[in-house]
Amino acid sequence: MFLGEGAGAFNHRSWNAPMSTTVSSPQTQLSALPPGGSASKESIAHARRRRFRPYLVLAPALILTIGIFIPFIAAICLSFTDYSLNSSDVSFIGFDNYLSMLQSSDFWHSLWITIEYAFLCTAVEMLLGVGVALLLNDENIVARFLRIVLIFPLMIAPVIGTLIWKLITNPSVGILVGPMRMIGLGDFKWAASPDSAMFSLVVVDAWVYTPFVIILVLAGLRSLPKSPYEAALIDGGSPWFVFKNLTLPMLAPVLLITLVFRLMLSLQEFSIIFALTEGGPGDATMSLSLQAYNRAFPFYGLAEAIPMMLFLWALVYFVSFILIGFWRRAQQRAAGVA
C-alpha cells in the first residue's frame, strides 16, 4: 500500500504559498467549511483547516467507493468456507480452497492464459492507439472527420461487439469469408480453432478497446503546450526527434495511466472471452476470470472461486502499483521537459 514518501514530492510549489488572506479562500469554499472565526484566532484555525482540507475534499469520493470493502471482506471470509450456491450447509475449512487452487494445474494454466491475453491486448492496443492518435492529431479533413467516428466501437457493449465479430468471421455465413477465400485463407477458423482462438480474442479486444487508448492519448496530445514545438521547429528537429524528445516525455504520464487502465481491465476481461470462446476450444483461452466465473456460478462453488479472483486482484494490484510508480516519475520528468 505504501508508495514511498519521496515519490510524493513534486517540484510544483505548494498552492498555499502565494495565498493572501484577503482573497476568499478557495479551499474554504471547496470543503464547504464555514468562514473563519475572529481575526486573532484566524491563523491557527486556518492552518488546522488547511491541514484537513485535502482530506475533506477527498472524503466524498472515498465515502462513495469505500463501501466496496464490505463485500470484498465478506468474499474473503467466504473463501475460508465451503459455501456453495447449491448447498445449504456451510462449514469452515480453513485454507483448503487456497491449497486446492495452488495444486490445480488448471489454475496455473489459466494464470498463464490471463497474462498472455492481457499482455497481447495491451501491447497491441497501446501501439495501435498511440499510432492512430498521432495520425488523428492533424488538421487534414480525414483526421478531423475520423477523430470522433473512430471511437464508436467503444460505444457498443462488448458482448454485442463480439457477437458481430463472430458473425462477420463465421466461415459459413460471414461476410469476411469471401475476401478471406480470395487471399487463400478460406480455411482460417478464427475463434473456432485452438491455434487462432487467442489471436481472434486479441483482434476483438483491440477493436473494442483501442478507441479507449485513442481518446486518452488524443486528449493528452491536444493539451500539450505549443511553445516547445515552436522552439523545436526553429531548431529544425526531425519529426522523429521531436516525437522522441518532446512529445513522448510530455505524453508519458497520460500513456502510463492509459496503460494502467488497459492492463488492469484486460487482466480481468470477461465479456469478450465469454462471448467469443467460453474459454475454449478445449482450454485454449480459459482465463482466470472465466474459470472463476464457471466455478462460482454455473458450478455453484462460489467459495472455491474466490481464491482465484483474489489472486487476480493481487496480480492487478501488483502490476498497477509498479506502473503507478513509473507514472509518478514520468510526471516529474514531464514537468521538467517544457
Binding site: 465451503d82 459459413s172 455465413v173 467460453e278
Partner: protein
C-alpha cells in the same frame, strides 16, 4: 413444509393414502366448486427466462389475474444470464421470486440446496388443485423430468415432484426437404447413414455449406441435444453406482466408441466453426440453407420453418434421431422448461395457483395453438385437432414426435455436479475434435476427474453436496 391452511378431512384422507392424483369421484364432484379466488389480493414475483413459453405466460397474465385476483410482476432475463441471476436470487432465500422458470438439470441443484418447494402436497390436495388439472395427461417422460428423490445417481421419476412443465423439446433430425426431394435423398435412419450422408453433403449449397449442424461450445448445452441422444441410443451411460459410489462411466468402451464416432461426424460434416456454435447458430445455419440437416432440438427446426422465420422456411421436414443399428428402439434426450415455487416464498398458495394455471390444460392448449408453445407437454394437446392442424404444416413433425415420445426422457443421471461434469465433457469433446486428442485417453481422463468429485457424494440419503 408448514401448511398453514386446512382442508376438509375427507380430502386429507385421500391425499394421505396415496401419492396418486385425487381423481377419485369425490374430487371430481368438487371441480365446479374449485376456488380460484382463494389467494385473491396476493402479489407474486415471477422470474422468467426470455422464451416463447414465457411470452405465452405474459400474454395471458390478465386472464390469470381476472380468474384469481392475484397480481403478478414478471421479469424476463436473456437466457445466457438467466440461471446466474436465478441462482443468486434463490441463494439469498428472501422469498423472491415466488415462482421461477427452471430446467430439469438445474432442478437437481436447486432441489438439493433446498430452494424448491415440493409440489406433491399441492397436487394431492383437491382444495388447492382443480380436478381438471389432470396430471396424468402430461407425458410420463416429461412429468418425470420434474420428479426426483434427491439421491444422486437415482434416475428421475421417483420421489417428489419439484417442478411442472411449460413445454419441452426432444432431439431429432430436421432436414432440408426441398433439397432432399430434388436429389432423391432420404433422411438417415442410422448413425452410419447420417455420417455418410452428411459427409457427402459438404458444399451442397455453395461454399461454406455443410452436412449437419450440431452444437460445440464449451458449455453443458453442447452435450444434451444430438450428442447425448446418440450416446444413449448407442447404449452408453454417463454414470454407474459401484460399491455405493457414483462413478463416471465416460471412460467405458461404449462411451469412447460413440464419442469417437460423433467427433468424426463433427470433423467431416459439422459446422466449420463448430466450437463456437450453440443452438442459435445451428438453427440459423440450417435456416439459411448452409446446413442440410440439423441434429438438435425439434423446436429449433420448427421455428426455422415458420413463414418468415428463415430463408429456407417452408422447405424443412423432420425425422427421428438416428439409431446405431436398424431396429433399435429410438428415443431422445429431452430438455424441459418448467415452473417451480421458491421454498422461501411467502405466497405459496398463490404461487401454486400460478403454477397450476400455466401448466394446466386450458392455458397449455391455448399457448400451443396460438403462441408457439411447442412441444406442449400434454397428450390431450397433441390430440387436439386444432393443434394438429397447426403442426400439419411441419412435414413429419407429428409422426416423429409420436415415434419417439415413449422413449423420450431425461437421459442424464441426476447429480449435483451436472453443470461442471457436462461442461468438462464439452471441453473434452472439443479437444478430441480440434486438438487431435486421443478419444480413449481423453474420455478416461475426463471420467477420472468427474469421479473424483462424484464419488464423494453420499448416496444413501437425500443429497447434501459434500464439497471439498
Amino acid at each position: 413444509m408448514k401448511i398453514r391452511f386446512t382442508w376438509p378431512s375427507s380430502f386429507a384422507v385421500v391425499s394421505a393414502v396415496s401419492l396418486a392424483l385425487p381423481l377419485a369421484d369425490s374430487a371430481r364432484a368438487q371441480q365446479s366448486a374449485f376456488d380460484w379466488k382463494q389467494a385473491s389480493g396476493t402479489k407474486l414475483v415471477v422470474m422468467l427466462n426470455k422464451h416463447p413459453y414465457a411470452d405465452a405466460i405474459i400474454k395471458r397474465l390478465q386472464e390469470f389475474k381476472d380468474l384469481t385476483g392475484i397480481d403478478v410482476e414478471t421479469s424476463e432475463t436473456p437466457e445466457e444470464n438467466y440461471f446466474d441471476k436465478l441462482t443468486a436470487a434463490l441463494a439469498s432465500k428472501n422469498g423472491t421470486p415466488d415462482v421461477f422458470m427452471t430446467g430439469t438439470y438445474q432442478l437437481w441443484d436447486y432441489a438439493t440446496a433446498g430452494y424448491m418447494e415440493p409440489l406433491d402436497a399441492y397436487l394431492n390436495d383437491p382444495s388447492q388443485t382443480n380436478a381438471d388439472y389432470d396430471y396424468k395427461d402430461i407425458y410420463e417422460g416429461v412429468r418425470n423430468g420434474g420428479r426426483w428423490d434427491l439421491v444422486p445417481g437415482h434416475a428421475t421419476g421417483t420421489g417428489q415432484q419439484w417442478a411442472l412443465p411449460l413445454g419441452f423439446e426432444t432431439n431429432i433430425i430436421a432436414y432440408n426437404k426441398k433439397y432432399f426431394d430434388e436429389k432423391g435423398l432420404k433422411p438417415p435412419k442410422t448413425f452410419d447413414e447420417l455420417y455418410k450422408l452428411a459427409k457427402q453433403l459438404k458444399g451442397w449449397n455453395g461454399p461454406g455449406s455443410y452436412g449437419v449442424a450440431v452444437r460445440g461450445t464449451r458449455n453443458w448445452a453442447t452435450i444434451h441435444p444430438g450428442y447425448m441422444t446418440t450416446f444413449t441410443n448407442a447404449g452408453a451411460k454417463d454414470f454407474e453406482i459401484k460399491d455405493g459410489k457414483l462413478v463416471s462411466d465416460l471412460g467405458s468402451a461404449k462411451s469412447v466408441e460413440v464419442t469417437k464416432e460423433f467427433a468424426q461426424l463433427v470433423k467431416d460434416a459439422g459446422p466449420p466453426a463448430w466450437s463456437s456454435y450453440t443452438w442459435y447458430q445451428c438453427g440459423a445455419d440450417f435456416g439459411a440453407g448452409k446446413a442440410a440437416m440439423l441434429f438438435d432440438a425439434d423446436i429449433l427446426g420448427y421455428f426455422q420453418n415458420v413463414p418468415g422465420g428463415s430463408a429456407e422456411a417452408g422447405n424443412i421436414a423432420y425425422s427421428p434421431p438416428p439409431v446405431m443399428k436398424e431396429g433399435d428402439p429410438v428415443g431422445a434426450n429431452e430438455w424441459i422448461w418448467q415452473v417451480a415455487i421458491n421454498k422461501s416464498s411467502k405466497n405459496k398458495k398463490a404461487a401454486w395457483l400460478f403454477v397450476q394455471y400455466f401448466t394446466g390444460k386450458e392455458h397449455g392448449t391455448w399457448a400451443a395453438i396460438n403462441a408457439s408453445v411447442v412441444d406442449p407437454p400434454r397428450k390431450s394437446i397433441w390430440d387436439n385437432p386444432n393443434f394438429q392442424a397447426v403442426m400439419s404444416k411441419m412435414p413429419g413433425y407429428l409422426d416423429t414426435f409420436n415415434t419417439i415420445i415413449a422413449n423420450t426422457s431425461v437421459k442424464f443421471t441426476p447429480q449435483p455436479y451436472f453443470s461442471e461434469s457436462t461442461t468438462e465433457w464439452a471441453a473434452t469433446l472439443q479437444k478430441i475434435v480440434l486438438s487431435g486428442a486421443d478419444p480413449k485417453a481423453a474420455m478416461t481422463d475426463l471420467a477420472k476427474r468427474i469421479t473424483a468429485k462424484t464419488s464423494k457424494l453420499k448416496l444413501d440419503q437425500p443429497a447434501k453436496t459434500a464439497r471439498q
